[in-house]
């Protein structure tokens, strides 16, 4: 541009910061307007420009007033105007306020707007440097660039290139916002990996949350999944993964963000800011938005998803200006990295984040893996209809008393009542309802009533392998749907981990017994002491049954390399807990060390305490990283279990007699964040020794792959059975699988949800029609929002005092009483009525 010959040349500062949520330029201008002028004056001098224009948003009144003042001052000092510093250099700066159209951030649209025309881009070339404002050579740069001029001139380009990466030198200011603990403006060298922004500066997600993605570059940036946070933040690397640097926006998202909705939101924005000049951006974005709207409302199709992909590419490659060319980034990247979320919306009408309201009855229903109609049973009980409330519960969740005790209750996470005081205690209410029926003479009539809802016998035979929560749930629904169901169980009793792993003091076996009575009561046949794949080969099942459901859980201990595991009194957790559950005589020592951080570790420790020994849990990370349910950790602490965190097992030391004497651990420190968003424990030099006479290894479970040998079942690398995500079909025809055996060790309600959905899909396949809804009655209940929901606080279950409860296997948490349960129901805000309310 310096070489261009013209009577007038312009330089322009683009301060039309239009990205929602971005405010770095504003901050810079408000804080130090003179440095901007300095940069522009130097630029003008070098390029031979006589006129400078700062195009600033009218929405920044303080920036405007401070800049105006700074320009006046510069004039007074002779730094602007005629013959600046006696160099014969004339230069003036003028301030122009933009009306706030996003597209005016595009340089040619900005120039059009300065010329008094509508802010629509025009094709380049000619570039502004050849023909810009009023057809004169024009240099246009962003605020940050102008701020960089003076320091670079003072200290030299080499200094500038010292920071940043080879291709993108220097620093950049970012606005870091969203689901992290620290938000704000940050200036970082280019090339800094994304995870430094999110974890080192942002300090990660809120406690108990996980970062899922980060969107860079403002509304037309791409979404980068947490697995790719190693990506350095520079222009090339971001472009490579479908995103942009843009103005430096960074929005962090967690599991409460629906990626389809995120794409929809940004397309809505760029669509409404499209100038309308070219077809791909004007009409293409409109079509993309309509498709995304359909998907978030549950009426999208796979075909539309392909159209969306095709549209995205076409808009990106064919649009006239950068707005259109970059607008599809959020769609294309979310479709690439979060395809499963799109499929969930389309195939299962499911929005796990609970954002897409049309796909959920209420936040709690959406968060419950079994998708229980929670407001319904709360309302029914409130109306004094215990039996109806129970019927509603049992048809949604065939193990309401067990889940009422051990479910990790994700239903709480998004309950709207928490914005007012505390979440509704839904788990305790369904536990109460179940207990109320099971412990009264209402049980038999109730069973009769449920049996009456069974569909007529279909003549189809289904086998279920494994009687854990998954198998029981599938069996219950299949029986309700009229099929002839037989459950084969390796052990002598039904219940899986509910029976043989989760201890009596948390889930009394008498409670489980009632649930089993009910499930058997609707016609499920049980065959015990029969190991599928061994006692009965899969081929035999295949020939005798129309469909087979595999739900054998994960009962095999993960292998842990640790010197000393061969010593006497070193037990894997599951066999230990199982022996206790069978009331067999188990000998542990007086001082027991437990390695692990999951439910099995906590349950082992609490069981050990009940055997009169002391228990110490050794865990490699910190308490908040423990996968066990938080209340259980708390309960264990209360009962006197000792916790040593940041401790990785090193070796078990034994005496001459082969018995355990002590365990050595290596202290760890938390290093880099891994892909799960948790910090990786790194060994230090410090070794600690704990005296003990017994060790329990609770380091995880897998499933016994011998089962699958020559069975035609395909497995994932980590050893779980591969199924279709939506139909639960395995690679072998007519064989389905669900629960821990497909997910790896998980939890009861997740496992049951597999059983429930698989039963629905198996029925559809067996019968060739959708019959699922037929087993549910039409419950009549109030559909008006409560005028005044109860103002009372949350009713929690009643813990037995710790000192008392460690002495016995007695259930440690007593449920709500009828009055409390009723009051708890009245606290519900009836989010399910939203649709009715808006319709009025």
């Amino acid at each position: 541009m310096a070489k261009a010959k013209a009577d007038t040349k312009y330089i322009i500062c683009n301060a039309d910061e239009g990205d929602p949520g971005a405010y770095m330029n504003r901050n810079e201008i408000e804080g130090d307007p003179h440095s901007l002028l300095e940069g522009m004056i130097i630029g003008a001098y070098v390029m031979g420009a006589t006129e400078g224009i700062i195009y600033v948003r009218a929405e920044y009144p303080l920036a405007v007033s401070r800049l105006t003042k700074a320009i006046e001052q510069a004039r007074e000092y002779g730094l602007l105007g005629a013959n600046i510093l006696d160099r014969g250099f004339n230069f003036n700066i003028q301030l122009v306020q933009g009306a706030g159209a996003f597209v005016c951030g595009e340089e040619t649209a900005l120039i059009a707007s300065l010329e008094g025309q509508a802010g629509r881009p025009r094709p380049r070339p000619p570039y502004p440097a050849q023909r810009g404002l009023w057809d004169k050579p024009t240099n246009i740069n962003n605020v940050e660039t102008w701020y960089n001029v003076a320091p670079i001139v003072t200290r030299g380009p080499a200094w500038f290139a010292e920071t940043g990466s080879a291709k993108s030198p220097g620093t950049k200011v970012f606005s870091l916002v969203g689901k992290i603990q620290n938000t704000g403006l940050v200036e970082m060298p280019l090339g800094t990996p994304l995870k430094s922004f999110i974890y080192d500066i942002g300090e990660g997600a809120a406690p108990g949350r996980r970062v899922k993605a980060v969107q860079t570059g403002g509304p037309s940036g791409g979404c980068i999944p947490v697995e790719m946070l190693d990506t350095p933040v520079d222009y090339e690397s971001l472009a490579q993964i479908g995103s942009i640097m843009g103005s430096g926006g960074m929005v962090v998202m967690d599991e409460d963000n629906c990626m389809v909705d995120v794409a929809r939101y940004f397309i809505e924005f760029t669509h409404s800011e499209s100038c309308g000049k070219c077809v791909p951006c004007r009409v293409g974005l409109n079509k993309a938005l309509r498709i995304l709207n359909a998907i978030t409302k549950g009426s999208g199709t796979r075909e539309q998803m392909n159209l969306l992909d095709e549209l995205g590419r076409m808009i990106r490659e064919c649009s006239l200006c950068a707005l259109g060319q970059s607008a599809p980034n959020p769609v294309l990247t979310t479709m690439r990295h979060f395809r499963e979320e799109y499929e969930d919306h389309i195939v299962a009408h499911r929005c796990r984040a609970g954002v897409c309201q049309e796909l959920a009855l209420s936040p709690c229903e959406n968060s419950c893996p079994l998708r229980m109609n929670i407001p319904r049973f709360l309302e029914l009980y409130q109306e004094g209809r215990l039996e109806d409330a129970f019927e509603s519960v049992i048809l949604d969740n065939p193990l309401p008393a067990s889940t009422g005790r051990v479910c990790q209750h994700p239903c709480d996470n998004r309950c709207r009542r928490q914005s007012f005081d505390e979440v509704v205690n839904m788990r305790e209410v369904h536990r109460f309802l179940a207990d109320a029926i099971y412990q009264s003479d209402l049980f038999e009539p109730m069973l009769e009533r449920i049996r009456a809802r069974k569909l007529a016998p279909t003549g189809r035979k289904v086998a279920v392998a494994g009687s854990g929560p998954t198998g029981l749930t599938a069996a219950f629904y299949l029986a309700m749907l009229g099929h002839d169901v037989t459950v084969f169980e390796e052990r002598s009793e039904a219940g899986g981990m509910l029976r043989f792993a989760i201890p009596e003091y948390r889930l009394p076996k008498s409670v489980l017994r009632k649930e089993l009575d009910l499930i058997e009561g609707v016609g499920v046949k049980m065959v015990f002491n029969t190991r599928i794949g061994f006692d009965v080969p899969l081929n035999e099942l295949a020939s005798q049954f129309d469909a087979v459901f595999l739900s054998i859980g994960t009962w095999k201990e993960s292998w842990l390399y640790l010197p000393g595991t061969e010593l006497k009194n070193v037990h894997p957790a599951l066999p230990f807990l199982e022996s206790v559950a069978r009331q067999e005589k188990v000998v542990t020592g007086a001082r027991v060390a437990i390695i692990g951080g999951g439910n099995a570790a906590i349950d082992s420790a609490r069981t050990v305490m009940r055997m009169g020994a002391s228990a110490t849990i050794l865990y490699r990370r910190e308490r908040q990283d423990m996968p066990a349910i938080d209340e259980e950790i708390q309960a264990a602490e209360d009962e006197g279990v000792r916790f040593v965190f940041l401790a990785a097992p090193h070796r078990i030391l034994g005496g001459a007699d082969g018995s355990v004497k002590a365990i050595e651990i290596v202290k760890t420190r938390l290093g880099e964040y891994d892909k799960s968003g948790r910090r990786r424990p790194m060994p230090t030099d410090e070794v600690q020794r704990f005296e003990c006479d017994s060790v329990i290894l609770a380091v995880g479970e897998t499933f016994d792959q011998d089962f699958c040998r020559a069975s035609g079942l395909e497995l994932k690398e980590e050893g779980t059975i591969i199924v279709d995500r939506f139909t639960y079909e395995t690679s072998r025809p007519n064989f389905y699988a669900g629960g821990d055996v497909i997910t790896g060790a998980s939890n009861v309600s997740n496992a049951m949800s597999c059983g429930k959905q698989a039963a629905q899909k198996m029925d559809e396949r067996l019968m060739g029609e959708q019959r699922w809804e037929r087993i549910f009655p039409d419950f009549e209940y109030s559909r008006t929002a409560p005028g005044e929901p109860s103002l009372s606080r949350r009713h929690a279950a009643h813990d037995l005092p710790a000192a008392l409860r460690v002495r016995s296997q007695q259930e440690v948490v007593a449920g709500l009483d009828p009055k409390e349960a009723l009051e708890e129901c009245r606290r519900c805000l009836r989010c399910d009525l939203r649709a009715t309310v808006t319709a009025n």
Partner: protein, 241 residues
């Protein structure tokens, strides 16, 4: 000043072009066809419809032929599977954006949108129709503007401003809400600057602008004549420079 001659490749063939020509002009001058819609010879090119996209050989970049100046050594591909796909999509998008009901249109059989759709082999559209409610301006004594059929190519805007010098037409609003408006967003019949020359009608590629009193298929446009006028005027202006 005589313009420089440059050599370029179009679809592999070595041809010459004049510096300053657009890719489209160079292609046409060498007997190559590139589909266009918003382009009208003689008017300034705006690059709105994007059906003239071509490939820059050796890169994955697409360029609009009508607005990109051709440069020494460029190698251009005017046809490929991807180009056909994108061109089709652009036309499909135009077909669903407003209400193009050919069977009831004065321009049926003489419409550039229709014939482009046909030559691209479009037999149906895969996107849902927007079915917007659109107005028809019948206030002008001789002409009619049917927004249902407008594809926002802005040929009317340009011919009126650049050739007739009347500046009757402009695009109002933005994005999907963009509309052609006359004068100060008044009825066309009230537009005091309209000379009634009818150039916009003749330049319009679809049935959006038409003469009154015609029935289905009867509107045959004289866009070539308008284009000749425009070209003459453009060379006058350039010559005067």
């Amino acid at each position: 000043m005589p313009t420089k001659t440059i050599s370029v490749r179009i679809d592999g063939e070595l041809v010459t072009a004049r510096e300053g020509q657009s890719i489209l002009e160079a292609a046409l001058a060498n007997g190559k066809q590139i589909p266009t819609l918003c382009y009208l010879k003689g008017l300034s090119a705006v690059g709105a419809c994007r059906v003239c996209m071509v490939e820059l050989a050796g890169t994955d970049r697409l360029l609009p032929a009508c607005t990109t100046p051709i440069q020494e050594g460029m190698s251009i591909k005017t046809a490929s599977a991807k180009l056909t796909q994108y061109r089709r999509m652009a036309v499909e998008l135009l077909l669903v954006e407003r209400n193009h009901i050919c069977s009831a249109c004065v321009s049926n059989g003489h419409c550039e949108l229709q014939s482009l759709a046909r030559s691209l082999g479009i037999t149906h559209v895969r996107y849902s129709y927007n079915n917007p409610r659109m107005t028809v301006d019948m206030t002008h004594p001789r002409f009619v503007l049917d927004q249902n059929r407008c594809i926002l190519c802005t040929r009317c805007v340009r011919v009126c401003a650049e050739v007739e010098g009347a500046h009757v037409w402009e695009v109002a609003s933005r994005g999907i809400y963009s509309r052609i408006v006359s004068d100060l967003k008044d009825d066309w019949g009230k537009a005091s600057n309209c000379t009634g020359c009818g150039k916009c009608v003749q330049a319009c590629p679809t049935g959006a602008l038409a003469e009154k009193g015609l029935s289905v298929m009867e509107m045959v446009k004289q866009s070539d004549a308008v284009s000749r006028l425009a070209t003459q005027r453009a060379s006058l202006v350039n010559g005067a420079r």
